[in-house]
């Protein structure tokens, strides 16, 4: 693909809200900073979920960013996404002091989520089942629709170019990159907010507890490491501002890095009875396709921001896929060790980590390999629960790498 410029990013995560706070949290973590996995997240009722272990955006107050008005009917996912979008638009300079500096008709949105708003669906089913469907709140009901949150983002920020919601499980926000690239290439917009979000909710937590994949209590949580005994849930939202080179240059934008390659693949399980499975072959093919898309070779990849979440057989399959294509040389990182599995937001949060690394923050947490002294290209991976995998390559922006 043609390289596209990343000119800013905005996020809400368990370790920090906004690019600067996120960067500071990564620095703090590299010096042994605090663990954000709580046993009492405020959005999980202990009567319903005894002793959970999860990372929530605990100090997130949408009002602080959006004001008091108009938030009443938003669910948590919508608030997370709107704040991330607002911060990304400001960070990239597309908006200043809340005002669009360029035409919002030319700014698109590509937003991923894996499960949409389970909070809204649960609320609606409770009313419908325990009271009467006649009492459903027509102002809250729209939140049950998967693309409602992204629709609200476009309304709040007045973004009028294509608005795309992508549902692709853990791969969503990387697949959103291809979607944005396609629309930018076809001239449907000059800039795209690309990323996604996921909110922590009781049904989501209970579902993963029921599937027995969570590292709760004494269970070891160590994404990408053999001793790990499960994953932990996080939540958050993140958008990168992706622009055509022409637009970024014409408006004199500060470019943080370029996205230069995308790849994806799907491999079915061998057994007809299986649904959930992981395929090292899909990981390999996604990496190869991204390399070819970026016209790079395996030797060009310095660091891999892996999708390792702590589920042992998933992490092992991913690592074997990485090694099959890239060998043992590149340094492999597990960003999810910091803030847990955030599904729709995962790829975008991983890309936010990469942007911080390019900006001088120490690379980590390292799963294997040695931290390189200099990084030029980072591969970001996502691995789905049903045999799919996606990959994106980010390239450092240096004087020599500027694209005409």
């Amino acid at each position: 693909m043609n390289p596209y410029a990343i000119t800013g990013y905005g996020l809400v995560s368990p370790i920090g809200i906004g690019a600067e706070a996120f960067r500071r949290a990564l620095v703090a973590h590299s010096r042994g900073g605090p663990d954000v996995f709580h046993d009492h997240p405020s959005c999980l009722d202990p009567k319903i979920i005894p002793q959970p272990t999860a990372a929530e955006c605990f100090d997130f107050d949408a009002k602080h960013y959006l004001g008091d008005k108009g938030l009443r009917n938003f669910d948590r996912l919508t608030k997370l996404l709107i704040v991330a979008a607002k911060l990304a638009l400001e960070d990239s300079g597309l908006k200043q002091d809340g005002v669009h500096k360029f035409s919002p008709h030319r700014i698109g949105l590509c937003s991923a989520t894996a499960y949409g708003s389970l909070e809204a669906i649960t609320e609606a089913v409770q009313v419908s089942e325990l009271e009467d469907p006649r009492f459903l709140n027509p102002n809250r009901f729209p939140n049950t629709v998967i693309n409602a949150a992204a629709g609200y983002v476009s309304i709040w920020e007045d973004l009028r170019a294509p608005n795309v919601t992508v549902v692709d499980g853990n791969c969503g926000s990387l697949d959103a990159v291809l979607s944005s690239e396609t629309h930018l290439r076809n001239g449907r917009a000059d800039a795209f907010l690309v990323g996604g979000g996921e909110s922590l909710s009781e049904p989501l937590y209970l579902a993963f507890r029921k599937l027995d994949v969570l590292a709760e209590g004494e269970r070891v949580f160590a994404p990408g490491r053999r001793e790990s005994q499960g994953m932990r849930l996080g939540e958050g939202a993140a958008y990168l501002c992706l622009e055509t080179q022409e637009f970024a240059k014409s408006r004199g934008a500060h470019v943080l890095a370029d996205i230069v390659g995308y790849g994806n693949a799907f491999e079915p399980p061998e057994s007809q009875a299986l649904l959930v499975h992981v395929s090292p072959l899909a990981v390999q093919r996604a990496i190869r396709m991204a390399l070819s898309d970026a016209q790079l070779t395996a030797a060009d990849i310095d660091v891999v921001a892996s999708a390792a979440s702590g589920i042992p057989h998933f992490d092992a399959a991913e690592l074997s896929g990485i090694e099959a294509v890239l060998g043992a040389r590149p340094c492999v990182i597990a960003p999810k060790a910091l803030f847990g599995e955030t599904f729709g937001a995962a790829g975008a949060l991983a890309m936010a980590c990469v942007l911080s690394w390019f900006d001088g923050v120490e690379i980590g947490p390292v799963v294997q390999g040695k931290r390189p002294e200099h990084i030029e290209h980072v591969l970001v991976l996502a691995v789905g629960y049903y045999g799919n995998a996606s990959a994106v390559i980010l390239q450092r922006r240096t004087a020599t790498a500027v694209v005409a």
């Binding site: 649960t122 309304i155 608005n163 549902v167 693949a265 629960y385 049903y386």
Partner: protein
């Protein structure tokens, strides 16, 4: 940039299964409406929907497939099998990484999540069956199809509410044009489910018995369900295997109203951009469009704004317009996919589907409607409108093969127009 052809169609709908049964019912102006049987509608004051009756998954799916998927995926896979057969595609054509599956939906496996939630609410945590949990996740829709056909390229779900079908078709065509796939199985699938039905009723959008698009006395939409699937192929792939193209995918227009979550912008700013883009990116002008398969939901707001937008785009020229929702209901995510199937058949046959139940003209919807009976006419280039919840607008053009100019020229022209627009754009 390759031309993109439609080579196969598949349908699961309240009007019939398979494109022939579906098209026959459409041309005859039959209604797919009936009393809802799949759930209890007491207390809701609305009992009618375009429910798919007599769908038995095992008629289309293996036992293992039927076990591992919900009704929404089963609709999609059944329609996809029909479309693949219709296209004459053999397993050897579909196996491998050059075949992708891109599907749209609004709610996905709404019945799976509905049952899980209900068992949790009534029976507590222990009542939830763990083996049912992985069946939820709209991610699965295209994955089930990819598994069935040995496709190993991109799998993606695009939940763009009631424009999901068109969003998927547009993205699928873009993937082929960008050289990222040779064949894409695309379209959308949607279920009638009680929570969502109740929600639409509470939004005041549901008509009591019938849906009357563009009629002065229209009372709202009738909820529907089903799946429409199209096989899209690159020109080179279609030629190589000797396939006969049914229609060419022309330009596609996507935009966002950024106005209100359930209501259209009063001047239809997003719809206007989407219609104009679809025409411009086809390399033609509004004068070349023969027919519009409108979104026409039968709600007061949609029909009024859509009529306004059509008049704005076409001026005084009375282009033929019709909405199928009086027969098919509003199948939400699947609506524009099912209507896209009809557009392809219109291009093939020169028959415009009727707008049924049309009685009283509405001065606010001053259109050249194909009222009550199907009509024949030129159908070289037709548009499929989808104007959705969340302000998502998507319009796709379909054309007789050989009728459209080279897509490279059309896209170059659209790009330079957009570049000029961008240069002229200033902060509002």
């Amino acid at each position: 940039m390759s031309r993109v052809y439609v080579t196969g169609l598949g349908v699961v709908s309240s009007l019939g299964f398979g494109r022939d049964a579906y098209w026959k019912a459409v041309v005859e102006g039959r209604s797919g409406f009936s009393t809802i049987e799949s759930f209890d509608t007491k207390t809701l004051d609305r009992t009618v929907a375009a429910e798919v009756k007599g769908f038995s998954p095992r008629d289309f799916l293996t036992a293992a497939e039927a076990r591992r998927m919900g009704r929404c995926s089963a609709f999609a896979l059944a329609a996809a099998r029909m479309a693949v057969t219709d296209a004459g595609l053999l397993p050897k054509h579909l196996a491998g990484d050059r075949t992708s599956v891109i599907l749209g939906t609004t709610m996905g496996e709404a019945d799976v999540i509905g049952e899980l939630e209900e068992s949790w609410i009534h029976g507590g945590n222990d009542a939830v069956l763990p083996n049912k949990l992985p069946l939820y996740g709209s991610t699965l829709l295209p994955i089930h199809l990819a598994r069935a056909f040995g496709a190993r390229g991109m799998v993606q779900t695009l939940p763009a509410a009631c424009a999901a079908g068109n969003y998927s078709i547009a993205f699928a065509a873009d993937l082929i044009r960008a050289g990222r796939a040779d064949v894409v199985i695309t379209g959308a699938s949607e279920l009638l489910q009680k929570l969502q039905f109740a929600g639409f009723v509470r939004l005041g959008a549901v008509a009591p018995e019938r849906c009357q698009p563009f009629d002065k006395n229209r009372k709202g939409l009738i909820v529907g369900e089903g799946a429409g699937v199209l096989v899209l192929e690159s020109e080179a792939h279609a030629v190589r295997r000797g396939a006969t193209p049914m229609a060419e995918i022309g330009g596609t227009g996507l935009a966002c109203d950024a106005h209100h979550i359930t209501r259209p912008h009063p001047e239809g700013i997003g719809s206007l951009v989407a219609m104009r883009e679809a025409i411009a990116r086809s390399g033609v002008t509004a004068d070349d469009i023969d027919f519009i398969n409108a979104h026409g939901t039968g709600t007061h707001a949609n029909d009024k704004v859509e009529a306004l937008v059509i008049r704005e785009v076409f001026g005084s020229r009375p282009v033929a317009v019709s909405s199928m929702k009086g027969m098919l209901g509003h199948c939400m995510g699947a609506a524009s996919a099912l209507e896209a199937v009809a557009c392809v058949l219109t291009v093939q046959t020169g028959i415009y589907p009727p707008t049924v139940s049309y009685e009283t003209p509405d001065p606010e919807c001053d259109l050249n409607l194909v009222a009550n009976r199907a009509a024949s006419g030129r159908a070289d280039i037709v548009l499929n409108n989808a104007l959705a919840f969340g302000g998502y607008d998507a319009v796709v053009a379909f054309a007789k093969p050989g009728r459209l100019p080279d897509p490279n020229e059309a896209y170059r022209a659209a790009l330079s127009d957009n570049a000029a627009a961008a240069a002229a754009a200033v902060a509002p």
